[in-house]
Subunit: 331 residues, 2 copies
């Protein structure tokens, strides 16, 4: 018997799922009316979704008696509806599908922070640098520029995205410091573990990139004490999830340390959703800048994300071991 | 007899010149009154200056009968007062003193352009992305992000800065295309020469970095035809001199091609001086952004620029061959 795949929310082109047609019938949630959905749900063997669709609430989920496997479109699987199923359903994240693209984005944010590009562009547009070159003033401005060659990058969460970021940064001549649960035994990488290890890495790094998944344990992971341990002129880049950083601690630290820079692509939640308009007035700060969570989605265009997710679903169809299985107890 | 060095304009700390004290007496232009200057000028053997000081006009220059060598603090030596001397005075540029720092800056500009960091930050601050995540809108925004891995970088002027830029870009997984007067025989670099070669490279590159010196021949080098040859969604980065680009051609191209991005650290002249307030309204464009000529000065902090210049002056004192001798007929 052919397998049945339900594609719920998806940001890939439909053709990206073509390699699965050999093994499975594909049902698109958006194409189905209530009646058809009622008939299909009990037969679904596996499912794909970017985030969790509102339409599949607890009542709907309870009808999916045959469901064995959910493939996430996202690398970060916070909010994936794990608790809708009491039975043994395997969830897989799309870790690796975005690493190169998000890593490149993280390097772009750290370089933009080091060169003060956003701040300088704003100053030029506002006419603050209008009067033409006065070499002394110009050289004074240049003292605000950092050169990253030879500096230390601390990666908080040395997973696929963290590794990709560090590899690109090494190409710029930066040293890699890595914090994670497991010891990193990679040539040229200094490994830090545990609370004391984290604090030491924070003290020693010139640039920090946050690349931890958002789980119960990592919510608010970077707080007052962690910011205080960082160098006063450090660059902090978040390409993980907004909520891994304590919003108030971040604001206070930025307000009190004008030489410190926070660059982000991910934002804090308001009313249960990520919002580009934070509760605290970050957007008035000179030493904060951000992009509206576009680092991951940029991997939709390179097709890296769809290839990675579809390859895992092909493994499922062939009865091969799945990759990136999520420990749902952490969420 | 000890040599005499006149330090005219300098942006290095005075200590940077210390290695020369073994060979030469150092005179600081800013310390000298008219009388002392009159007495010293005829005895000066060599001189150091960042740009050319107004005080040393033609009358003053004519008094420097013993002058044999001028070391520039800058890598680009346009405006160095070459025609003040009819005698054989050797001018040396400070090529190499800024390459790593300016190369890193060029990569920062190209990544900021690729990720639309300035534009997105402005949109977020203006509240345009305020309503929280709507996945469709967010994915649409992300289609404006470019991933540079695998893309082609065309370097216009493959000197020290061009090479440093290309090397860092290769670390991001970019291919190198190089245009210059000489054929480039470097592994992994496609070499282009002559007018036809330039046009072909412009057509094939996703990102272009302009790194030519400003000379009589390169003024307005990138004009209407050159812009027209570039891909409509190319990224163009200028870390050379504003005047190497035709200002009107650039403005028209940007206004007519919203997908094209121009990122610059260097600006066009107004009233004979580089001005951060261009004559045409570049600062109103979404697809243009810039920093106030801080890429080079950032090398003042790493001391790379002073080490390079002082090393050449030490060569002069020891009677060793000088490096970076300028062909003044080009200026």
């Amino acid at each position: 018997m052919r397998l049945k795949l339900l594609v719920a929310q998806y940001y890939f082109p439909r053709e990206a799922f073509d390699p699965l047609r050999r093994y499975a019938d594909i049902y698109w949630l958006e194409d189905m009316g209530a009646e058809e959905l009622d008939r299909v749900l009990p037969q679904v063997d596996f499912m794909f979704s970017h985030g969790w669709p509102r339409r599949l609430d607890a009542a709907m989920a309870s009808k999916m008696k045959k469901l064995r496997y959910v493939q996430a479109g996202n690398a970060g699987v916070d909010g994936m509806g794990f608790d809708l199923f009491d039975r043994k359903v395997v969830f897989c994240s799309n870790v690796g599908g975005y690493s190169e693209e998000v890593g490149e984005f993280a390097v772009a944010l750290m370089l933009a922070a080091a060169k003060k590009i956003v701040m300088f562009d704003r100053a030029v547009r506002a006419g603050e640098a209008r009067k033409g070159i006065d070499a002394t003033a110009q050289n004074r401005m240049a003292t605000r520029v950092s050169v990253l060659r030879g500096k230390s990058l601390g990666v908080i969460g040395y997973g696929e995205i963290g590794k990709a970021t560090a590899r690109l940064a090494r190409g710029l001549g930066m040293k890699t410091l890595a914090f994670g649960r497991r010891e990193v035994r990679e040539r040229g990488v200094a490994s830090f573990r545990g609370r004391a290890g984290l604090m030491e890495m924070l003290r020693r790094s010139d640039v920090l990139v946050l690349a931890l998944p958002l789980t119960k344990k990592t919510k608010g992971f970077i707080g007052r004490e962690e910011f205080a341990a960082m160098k006063p002129d450090a660059i902090f880049v978040n390409i993980a999830r907004g909520e891994v950083v304590d919003e108030e601690a971040a604001y206070e630290h930025l307000a009190g340390n004008p030489g410190f820079t926070f660059a982000t692509d991910v934002w804090w939640d308001r009313d249960g959703r990520e919002s580009f308009s934070p509760r605290l007035p970050f957007l008035k700060l000179e030493n904060f800048f951000g992009t509206p969570h576009v680092s991951g989605p940029s991997a939709l265009m390179t097709r890296s994300a769809s290839r990675n997710a579809v390859a895992n679903m092909v493994r499922f169809c062939r009865g091969e071991p799945l990759r990136n299985v999520v420990d749902t107890s952490e969420y």
